[in-house]
């Protein structure tokens, strides 16, 4: 809401020396938030004076244009009193007219400085101004011709033109619809400065006499009040007076024509949207009802609309002529030939307005006010004000007969304990202060013992609940006086185990050299295709967003890999090919398409209702994804770097698992998007928690990540659930360790992990660790075989082992490996 300060001051007697900044600050403190301050016209500086055109000599030019060489009487403003010679390109004036002249030294908007200059063979000493050149509007067709009584040559034009003003733009919250008018803003200013207020809606209006335009309301709930008033003999060519056009313009609307401008002006002034019909295009009684299925209307924006049975429509004998309170119809629109206007000033049901506006995607200044709630008691005043202005500036006569149908709804009555404002605010607010402040905002208050009863003012439909009154009292008391008191919270238990563990996962990966990323959870089918997912892959079962930001990414992702790979590709594209990234985020796994219930809000949901609501939501497990591309360790003067590989991805998950006290087992697997020969399934016990390994080369290409990029994705919830929360202290032997190395030749496809597991089992309780230290394939072993070398460490808890004991344990391990895997000890 843009409110010119001169307009505010018209309704409230503010001290003259109050600055616009002070007004804005106090109104912000009351809840009308300052959005922007504008001071139009302040960039124009004089001399800017009234001049009388003495002579006009048209001089045709070679370029086909005709310029006018004029002399203008500017009184004593030019110092000499002699006529001022000025070249002017406009033609809409003649000798004797009063015009606006900027003399040399003056500055026009945009820092445009005026000086005497030679042009078209004359010295032009100044400029005769158009409205556009002064920033007064868009009208550039000609210069401003002032009314004959506007002033004398040499008068300061700033006093004649509505040039300078100060405009406060407020951000108006939905509950303060009354402040979408100067009437409301001025009321708040009066409250802010305790200044006398003159309600512009308070005016004498003619009583309805039954001879006005016939109106029939079929739906008094949707349209409780309908006021109609006719103006006839109106001159459609009459111009909008400058001051009125200027105010509309400053308030952010565009002047169009007198009739339209007047309805807009009254809407801005009083907050009551007005609709004007060309009365000559109306046929018979005007009515209001709900639309019927199948009905259509072409609104004045030219759109043909299918109506819903919930839409409130205005009708006449020809059918539907408007969407009530939202937008008029094309057929009865006012035009440049309209001489008879029917003014509609009606109160509409706010919810219907909201729904119709939303349904038809119509946003308008009128709709914004009607759907938030307008004072229902000022319909007659608003219609009367429109009639007054139309007649004053457009001629004609206002019908003495007014039609008024319906009565305004009763305002709400709210009773509160007198101490409620103090109790809720935690402030010392005596009861009589509350009473005074509620009265100041317009409530009628009665006191009954320790209870206050407030009848809210008709312009405040937002006041419905006891706490609404608390806010009204508090904002007048002043939020800046709210004391600062810490509540006594009961002892808390700190972070939950899962919350602590998630932090541990992040810290562990950062410590291991991985950088965390935060990706959007949106993907498209193409992203899943690029992963190489089969048609029946469960990760293709996604939830779809009805209104995605990008039609390329309408799905809630089921895997974190697309986002991670895009981030790796983005880094590579920016010259960072060596990158290790991770993300922890939830994924969305649909569980069906059951609708979530809309439960009542006047009570707690039942357990059954609550369960139904939970069941309708998708599974949203927390995943961890990580990826590493390029070199895991950089090359340098020390030599080559170490390229990232499938093993890094597995290792990173293992590091996380170790940090959580979870033992991870690894087995080979085949799954998109991984390289079929370099993919590991990761398990905790028998439970598969995810996969890790090198990406399929085609996926690297498809996502534009470096070749051999390795990734992992695991269900982090599964890992966290299995975390060791209380680590048991280890016991270990301090006796000497005995070491034995064995090299075993086995089939090339035997997983090393299986062989290690066998050795450990065979070596028995004395075996402390089994560690693979060499893998060999080549001439030294038969084709199709490989040699795996293990270091075994033995130790007993209670004694130093003898060579015989360790030898026997080693032999047992080798023997079991031979039995189970056909392993042969290498010489």
């Amino acid at each position: 809401m843009k409110a010119p300060v001169s307009w505010i001051r018209e309704y409230v007697d503010l001290p003259e020396d109050l600055t616009t900044e002070e007004i804005a600050a106090r109104l912000t403190a009351l809840g009308l938030k300052l959005e922007a301050l504008d001071k139009p016209g302040h960039d124009v500086t004089g001399p800017l004076v009234v001049g009388r055109v003495l002579t006009v000599e048209p001089e045709p030019q070679k370029n086909g244009k005709t310029i006018n060489w004029c002399t203008v009487d500017v009184g004593g403003a030019n110092g000499s009193g002699d006529p001022q010679g000025i070249v002017c390109g406009a033609h809409n004036f003649r000798p004797g007219d009063l015009v606006v002249v900027v003399l040399p030294g003056g500055v026009l908007p945009g820092g445009f400085e005026i000086s005497a200059r030679k042009t078209y063979g004359h010295v032009s000493a100044g400029m005769i101004c158009s409205a556009k050149e002064l920033g007064l509007g868009e009208d550039h067709a000609g210069i401003i011709v002032l009314p004959p009584d506007a002033g004398q040559p040499g008068d300061d034009a700033f006093a004649v033109l509505p040039l300078r003003d100060e405009v406060i733009e407020f951000e108006i919250n939905p509950d303060r619809a009354y402040a979408l008018s100067l009437r409301g803003v001025a009321r708040e200013a009066a409250l802010a400065f305790d200044a006398p207020y003159h309600d512009p809606a308070q005016r004498e209006t003619p009583a309805p006499d039954g001879h006005g335009y016939p109106i029939a309301i079929d739906d008094p709930v949707g349209c409780p009040v309908f006021v109609a008033r006719e103006v006839s003999g109106f001159d459609p060519t009459a111009p909008t007076p400058d001051w009125l056009a200027r105010r509309i313009q400053l308030a952010g609307m565009r002047p169009i024509s007198l009739a339209v401008d007047v309805t807009n002006y009254v809407m801005l002034e009083l907050g009551r949207p007005i609709h004007g019909y060309d009365a000559d295009k109306l046929q018979g009684t005007v009515g209001v009802r709900r639309a019927r299925a199948g009905e259509r209307l072409t609104t004045l924006d030219g759109t043909d609309r299918a109506l819903s049975a919930e839409d409130l429509v205005v009708t006449d004998d020809s059918g539907i002529i408007g969407l009530g309170g939202v937008m008029g119809g094309e057929a009865t629109e006012m035009s440049e030939t309209t001489t008879r206007v029917l003014i509609e000033s009606a109160h509409w049901d706010a919810v219907s307005m909201f729904r119709t506006g939303k349904r038809h995607k119509i946003t308008s200044e009128a709709g914004r006010r009607n759907e938030r709630g307008v004072d229902p008691t000022i319909c007659e005043a608003a219609a009367d004000r429109v009639a007054e202005l139309l007649v004053r500036y457009g001629g004609g006569t206002a019908s003495p007969s007014v039609t008024v149908v319906g009565t305004p709804p009763e305002p709400a009555t709210i009773t509160i304990p007198a101490t409620l404002p103090a109790d809720i605010m935690g402030m010392d607010i005596p009861a009589d202060t509350s009473v005074a402040h509620l009265r100041a905002v317009g409530c009628e208050v009665t006191v009954d013992g320790d209870r206050l009863t407030a009848v809210v003012p008709p312009w405040r439909p937002d006041l419905t609940d006891p706490f609404d009154l608390v806010e009204e009292v508090a904002r007048v008391v002043g939020y800046e006086d709210i004391p600062s008191v810490l509540p006594d919270a009961p002892a808390g238990r700190g972070l939950s185990p899962a919350q602590s563990l998630r932090r541990r996962v992040g810290r562990t990966l950062a410590g291991a050299g991985y950088v965390e990323v935060v990706n959007f959870p949106f993907v498209g089918g193409a992203d899943l295709d690029r992963l190489g997912l089969e048609a029946d892959d469960e990760r293709r079962q996604t939830m779809r967003i009805a209104n995605p930001i990008s039609s390329e990414e309408p799905l809630m992702t089921t895997t974190l890999l697309p986002g991670l790979l895009k981030a790796l590709a983005r880094n590579a594209g920016r010259g960072i090919g060596d990158a290790a990234l991770f993300e922890t985020a939830t994924v969305t796994l649909p569980r069906g398409t059951v609708a979530a219930p809309i439960l009542p809000v006047d009570r707690r949901p039942t357990e059954g209702e609550w369960d139904d609501l939970q069941k309708a939501l998708p599974d949203q497990p927390l995943h961890l994804a990580l990826g590493v591309s390029g070199n895991r360790e950089p090359s340098g003067w020390w030599g080559d770097g170490r390229a990232a590989s499938w093993a890094d991805a597995i290792e990173a998950v293992r590091v996380v698992a170790t940090a959580l006290g979870v033992e991870l087992t690894v087995r080979s697997a085949t799954r998109a998007p991984w390289h079929p020969g370099r993919c590991a399934e990761l398990l905790v016990g028998d439970v598969s928690i995810g996969f890790a390994g090198e990406l399929h080369p085609r996926v690297c290409t498809a996502y534009g990540v470096p070749a051999r990029t390795a990734v992992a994705e695991v269900d982090l919830d599964q890992l966290l659930q299995r975390a060791t929360l209380i680590v048991p202290a280890p016991r270990f032997s301090t006796y000497p360790v005995a070491k034995e190395d064995v090299a075993l030749v086995v089939d090339a496809d035997l997983p090393a992990g299986d062989l290690a597991e066998t050795l450990r089992e065979g070596a028995g309780v004395l075996c402390e660790s089994v560690r693979l230290f060499d893998v060999y394939t080549g001439d030294q072993v038969p084709a199709g075989k490989k040699s795996l070398a293990f270091a075994l460490r033995f130790r007993a808890a209670d004694r130093t082992l003898t060579e015989a004991e360790t030898g026997a344990a080693r032999d047992a391990a080798v023997k079991l490996a031979a039995e189970r895997h056909g392993a042969v000890q290498r010489a």
Binding site: R475, Y479, I482, V485, V517, P597
Partner: protein, 367 residues
């Protein structure tokens, strides 16, 4: 222990001459003193102090001397050997020190050579900032509550006094899941976690809920369809707006330094009444002249818009099963991304979501 040598023949034995012992001693000391390195010293040790050295051999002959000569010879040889051993030890120490010194010089490296072989990771500043905020409240005894991002419409709107026809509902441009009449949305704020908390815990409730939220904004320098909020909720007996102010002042001081407070302005949120917008005292200029004039953090305002708050609307309590006659509460919400932007001078929101490691690495593991 041998007895006196009864077969002693004084004629056949030539007593050791003192000059000879002295010569052995001098020869040994000279060899030790001139040994240039540890190897030479080792050789000198063998030659002059070893089992076959002249002094050792001479020492062996002492027993064959006449008793009257033994004492003197023994003393002379003993002194000589002792002197040689001392000289050996001293020379050993000198040569070892020389050797060590030389070795350390030889092993000198260029310590300015770069050694950045260990990859450096980092946590995302939105994560660490959320954690830091959480820690402030955990420190006050609160707990951290969480909820799903794909949320029921009822919890995101209706339960929070945002009915289907509430004008505020259009203020929040919501992502709807298909089919739209299934009433499932991407949560537009973390407030549904408040509702969930009230529905699943008994008062007193003191929780803070950080999390990611969604609105249909285009992605640009100052907007993102995905962003992060933190909300606080307290439900207890006798809770007032003053408690809200005290809590946010403490929060502000904890995050931005002692003396940094908040300012409330009346505002409107359907789920709170009375409602307020919270401004944070600029922690850079503290609103002080003349610093405030040129302050880029608050753009000369002295205050930074931080979030919204208010007393929980009793209608919300009713929908969430809390007795409004017994309990009151307060709630507040701030943007974590926005806080990161002004706290750290991050200028482009896209930096937070594009995964460029240079952005995140700068923040390390704590914030």
């Amino acid at each position: 222990m041998s007895g006196p040598n009864s077969d002693y023949d004084p004629v056949e034995v030539t007593p050791l001459k003192a000059e000879e012992v002295d010569a052995m001693r001098e020869a040994a000391l000279a060899a030790i003193a001139t040994a240039p390195d540890l190897d030479a010293l080792k050789h000198a040790r063998t030659e002059h102090a070893g089992d076959r050295s002249p002094l050792a051999l001479a020492n062996r002959e002492i027993g064959a001397l006449p008793p009257q000569a033994r004492k003197e010879a023994g003393m002379r040889i003993g002194q000589a050997r002792s002197a040689v051993n001392q000289a050996l030890a001293a020379r050993q120490e000198v040569l070892e020190a020389e050797h060590e010194e030389r070795m350390l010089v030889e092993e000198t490296v260029d310590v300015t050579l770069p050694w950045d072989r260990t990859p450096v990771g980092a946590r995302h500043p939105l994560t660490t900032l959320s954690e830091r905020i959480g820690d402030v409240f955990v420190g006050m005894g609160w707990e951290v509550a969480e909820g799903p991002v794909v949320e029921a419409e009822w919890l995101n709107f209706d339960a929070l006094n945002l009915g289907p026809d509430h004008p505020a509902r259009t203020m929040q441009d919501t992502f709807w899941m298909e089919p739209a009449d299934n009433a499932i949305v991407l949560r537009t704020h973390t407030s549904p976690v408040q509702a969930r908390t009230m529905l699943t815990r008994e008062p007193p409730i003191y929780v803070v809920c950080p999390g990611r939220v969604f609105r249909t904004d285009e992605f640009d320098a100052t907007h993102s369809p995905v962003f992060h909020q933190v909300e606080g909720l307290v439900i207890d007996e006798g809770i007032t707006m003053a408690h809200l102010k005290g809590t946010l002042d403490h929060f502000a001081a904890s995050m931005f330094g002692d003396g940094i407070t908040t300012r409330f302005r009346p505002s409107y949120f359907p789920f709170t009444e009375p409602s307020a917008e919270v401004d944070l005292r600029c922690f850079v200029c503290r609103g002080q002249e003349p610093a405030v004039q040129s302050c880029r953090t608050c753009r000369g305002e002295g205050w930074i818009e931080w979030g919204g708050c208010g007393v929980v609307n009793p209608r919300v309590l009713v929908a969430c099963g809390v007795d409004p006659d017994r309990y009151t509460g307060f709630a507040f919400g701030m943007g974590i991304d926005r806080t990161l932007m002004f706290r750290h001078g991050a200028e482009d929101m896209r930096d937070m979501f594009e995964g460029d490691v240079r952005f995140t690495t700068a923040f390390g593991s704590e914030i």
